[in-house]
């Protein structure tokens, strides 16, 4: 069946707990709100907040561990963005869909080798 890979798309309850914990703070909500308008550097995120830079970094750490935000460092600038959650789910689903056909065609190769044994050459992908 083509659909059985779909079950891997179930979100872990822990993921939801972490997300809500991350959002249970007004500064972290402000960071998320800012990122809904696009990626931003750490200093851009810190500018409107009335807290120290180390505190902003701690907030970002909580947000990243929750899976809501990811960041990458290019040179000396760390850029943060929101994780595209809905995209993740459907991309994974499509990858699973393709994977099922790949496994099925591998199985076809095994069936062919069993039903029509040959000695010459090698099967390759």
């Amino acid at each position: 069946m083509l659909c059985y890979g779909l079950r891997v798309a179930i979100a872990a309850p822990q993921q939801l707990d972490d997300a809500f914990h991350a959002l249970a703070d007004s500064n972290r909500r402000a960071i998320v709100a800012r990122l809904t308008r696009g990626a931003a550097s750490v200093s851009e995120l810190a500018a409107p907040l009335d807290v120290s830079l180390p505190t902003v970094l701690q907030h970002l750490d909580v947000l990243q561990r929750s899976g809501l935000v990811r960041s990458e460092k290019v040179g000396r600038v760390r850029t943060c963005r929101l994780e595209p959650g809905p995209m993740r789910a459907i991309e994974r689903w499509i990858a699973d869909h393709r994977g099922i056909w790949e496994r099925r065609l591998d199985l076809l190769g095994d069936v062919l080798d069993d039903a029509f044994p040959t000695t010459k050459g090698h099967r390759s992908k």
């Binding site: 069946m1 079950r7 959002l23 909500r29 998320v32 809905p86 789910a89 062919l112």
Partner: protein, 154 residues
């Protein structure tokens, strides 16, 4: 609700001839050995009418109780050369995708088969459980984001 379009191609090479490979598609006994529901599934159903206008039905319930159904219709069959079919996937009786698939069997220089599987799929994003659980979470977070954006700009 949304539709995601996605195309993909899978290629395989087999030592067996295109005639033998085609036989593994057309012969019900051989076909069932590679195109089947996994072991341990219940309520399994299978039927095959391998001709243009005919189709295949393959259904069963996985160990988590989710019902999966594949149903296809053959649009073109050229013996040992190509098979064109369209198929639906349903999860718990809800349509999740519709695809058009072509399978080409080409004879390679060694006399074996070069199989090219190409699919054009429309994936319907409004999934039923279990994937909807994550989708529901995503929608919830989208809503939160929108709310937060308003909260900040207000």
């Amino acid at each position: 609700m949304s539709i995601r379009q996605h195309d993909f191609t899978i290629e395989r090479r087999f030592r067996q001839t295109p005639e033998q490979t085609f036989h593994a598609f057309a012969d019900p006994d051989l076909r069932q050995r590679w195109f089947r529901v996994p072991d341990g599934w219940t309520d399994t159903e299978w039927s095959l009418d391998f001709r243009v206008g005919g189709g295949e039905l393959n259904a069963g319930r996985d160990d988590g109780g989710n019902h999966h159904l594949f149903r296809s219709r053959f649009h073109d069959i050229v013996e040992s050369e190509r098979i064109v079919f369209a198929y639906d996937m349903l999860l718990d009786r809800r349509l999740t995708s519709v695809s058009l698939t072509t399978i080409e069997l080409r004879r390679d220089r060694a006399g074996g088969t070069h199989l090219i599987f190409t699919e054009h799929g429309a994936f319907l994003d409004d999934l039923e459980d279990p994937a909807e659980r994550e989708h529901g979470t995503d929608l919830l977070l989208d809503g939160l984001e929108a709310f937060l954006a308003n909260e900040v700009s207000a």
